[in-house]
Amino acid sequence: MNHQEGYADDVVKGFLTWSIIWGVVAVLLGVVISLQLAWPQLNLPPYLTYGRLRPIHTNAGIFGWGIGSFMALFFYITQRLTRTRLWSPGLARFQLWLFNVVIALAAITLMLGMNRSKEYAELEWPVALLVVVLWVIFSINIIMTVIKRKEEQLYISLWYILAALVGVAILYLVNNVGIPVSLTKSYSAYAGANDANVQWWYGHNAVAMVLTAPPLAIFYYFLPKSTGVPIYSHRMGVIAFWSLIFMYLWTGAHHLLWTPVPDWVQTLAMAFSIMLIAPSWGAVFNGYFSMNGQWHQMRDNYLVKFLIFGITFYGLQTLQGPSQAVRTFSAFIHYTDWVPGHVHMGTLGWVSLVLFAAIYYVVPRLYGREIYSVGLANLHFWLAVTGQLIFSITMWIAGVQQAVMLHATNPDGSLHYSFMETLIELYPYWHGRAAGGIIYFVSLLIFVYNIVKTTTSGKQIQVSS
């Protein structure tokens, strides 16, 4: 058993607990702000307006739920893949404490309006500095564990973990450079189009280094663990790894098509976005081919269901993303609800489904108990997928409809619709999105209940080996 092997797993439990708590907060806030968009009277100024709550939603989701779970699972995976106890469990415990302080501070300062305005880099400089400290001690712990490992070979998951550690560090440091005015106010060091280009180099590669590499590391570890058969091709994983981390960094400016950023930067971003389909689908095919002869497990094994749906959403995401990066299509759907539809397929579909599978796998092993209810896990799965699909599909339709209306012209060349005429048509879709979000939130509560019950009253696993 794990404890006999001497792994430091208490900190894994701690990070999982808190990441789930922040995940619930993130989705709950998502539901709240979706309702605020549909019913503006639900805005309660000054602290509880859409403008102040939306950054808390994204930060709680990406940093609280996403990175919190990655920290837990990286600690879990790294120890097992290196057959080595964590370099410093004490440092990891301090990291958990600091992590919660940072996320709580982030929520409070954002609600107070201390906001640097750059998406996913909103935190004012003192909080951002704490994030840097957090990441440095996390990286040191993982890297030192890898260096003094007992297993010579580095499995592909560790490659993604190591790349994510350096990638996030570079992105975060560069984009957060600022000119402080006081403890609670600073300005970006870059101006105008430069600031925009740096920001979206950061923003899009946060998608690479936070929402792609870590879930892939987790996917590559837990798919074989769940199915009991090895991954289809290590070599394909390696090729996809290097091309992924090479190509991603060129694509940030696809968020800035048709803006005053130089055309050649936009065109490079467009070309590399299309090329990214190859490494992305390298991982998808690796997942699918690993299922050869094992597809019956989609029926029998709920973990596999989460993982294969997750990688399928990743595959769809990495086809839709490049299509949006093409100038002509971007001209049409950029700035509409299409984009939140896209983003939430990635976060609710791909990242979260893979995290759910990993947590369902890890928790029974950490606590020595069987999962409380497979039936509830299945219910969680179907509600999550349904909620996510309702969310994304309504947003795609809303985006296309608004785009068509915004671009419609009369025979004399004048615009056919005023802005408000296009906006009022969105209300029904916003109601649909809120419904999808609520369904997803319910699925999350079922997940939490199942996990809590597992740790307290799941059947004890017999120690056999």
Binding site: G192, A331, Y335
Partner: protein
């Protein structure tokens, strides 16, 4: 080989990450904001405008409003002249945004009179009934000016001591409106873009009662917020007794009256609909 050497793997991964970073993020610094692309008319923010911009940032306005007009027909007709790199050289941070839940604001400066902004920001639904914008009436509180001078210094913007004094006693809303009115108005695009109304101006719908319903609808949507639901006036003058030939009224609606704060509706409405709303307004006078 790399499978067994984590330090080399880390260094190699960093190098690979840096290639695209250098080409698409670092290299563009050489070209973006190049002095050659400077636009002489574009001025730094005044202390009041800068404070307004900070309130825009604090309230997260950029979550719903973009600030960049793309060189696309629909964008240019709806918002105005497309955005140039040189217009943003004083923007730290940039506020281009990523989602237009509300309309783009890159060219909002000079579009409406101040009074429109005061009323609309405090209570958007009183002017645009189905708007989903939150009410920002609380911005009527006094502006905190303790950091104003340090902010100007931090950004290297020129100011006179009198400018700093002038900010004191203002409300947060005053600052926000001052910022709104500066947005996109440094370059004289509005004057140049002002639609020239050429040819003979004859109302094609004169005495055509069938267009009154549509004219009323357009009036309710685009005119009533300033001129009142019953043409009684408000932010703009009363139109109840307007005594102007159709052609003059058409010109005012189509091309706007910049000095008086009247926006131009020609680009968004088109000639036909402008004539319809003119017909509606004139009909009210007669009946």
């Amino acid at each position: 080989m790399i499978e067994k050497r984590p330090v080399i793997l880390l260094l190699l991964a960093t190098a690979v990450i840096m290639v695209g970073t250098v080409v698409t993020m670092i290299a563009p610094f050489r070209w973006i904001n190049d002095p050659k692309l400077r636009i002489a008319e574009v001025k730094p923010y005044t202390p009041l405008q800068l404070e307004g911009r900070d309130i825009y940032i604090r309230e997260g306005c950029n979550n719903c409003h973009t600030q960049t007009v793309r060189p696309l027909l629909a964008d240019v007709e709806r918002y105005g002249e497309y955005s140039k790199a040189g217009e943003f050289v004083f923007d730290q941070p940039f506020l281009w945004g990523s989602r237009r839940t509300g309309p783009d604001l890159a060219r909002i400066g000079g579009k409406y009179p101040d009074a429109w902004h005061y009323r609309h920001t405090a209570d958007p639904q009183s002017m645009v009934p189905r708007s989903n914008m939150p009410k920002y009436a609380f911005l009527e509180r006094p502006l905190d000016t303790s950091l104003t001078e340090r902010k100007m210094k931090a950004l290297g913007f020129p100011y006179a001591p009198a400018d700093i004094e002038a900010v004191k006693g203002k409300s947060e809303l005053d600052a926000l409106v001052a910022y709104m009115q500066k947005l996109g108005s440094d370059i004289p695009w509005r004057k140049e873009a002002r639609a020239a109304v050429a040819g003979e101006l004859k109302n094609p719908f004169q005495d055509d009662k069938t267009v009154l319903a549509e004219g009323k609808e357009i009036y309710g949507r685009d005119c009533a917020q300033c001129h009142g639901a019953g043409l009684e006036g408000g932010i703009g003058p009363s139109l109840a007794d307007i005594d102007q030939p159709d052609a003059e009224l058409f010109k005012s609606v189509y091309a706007g009256i910049p000095a008086g704060g009247m926006p131009a509706f020609g680009e968004t409405l088109g000639k036909d609909r402008v004539w319809k709303v003119v017909t509606f307004i004139k009909y009210q006078k007669r009946h």
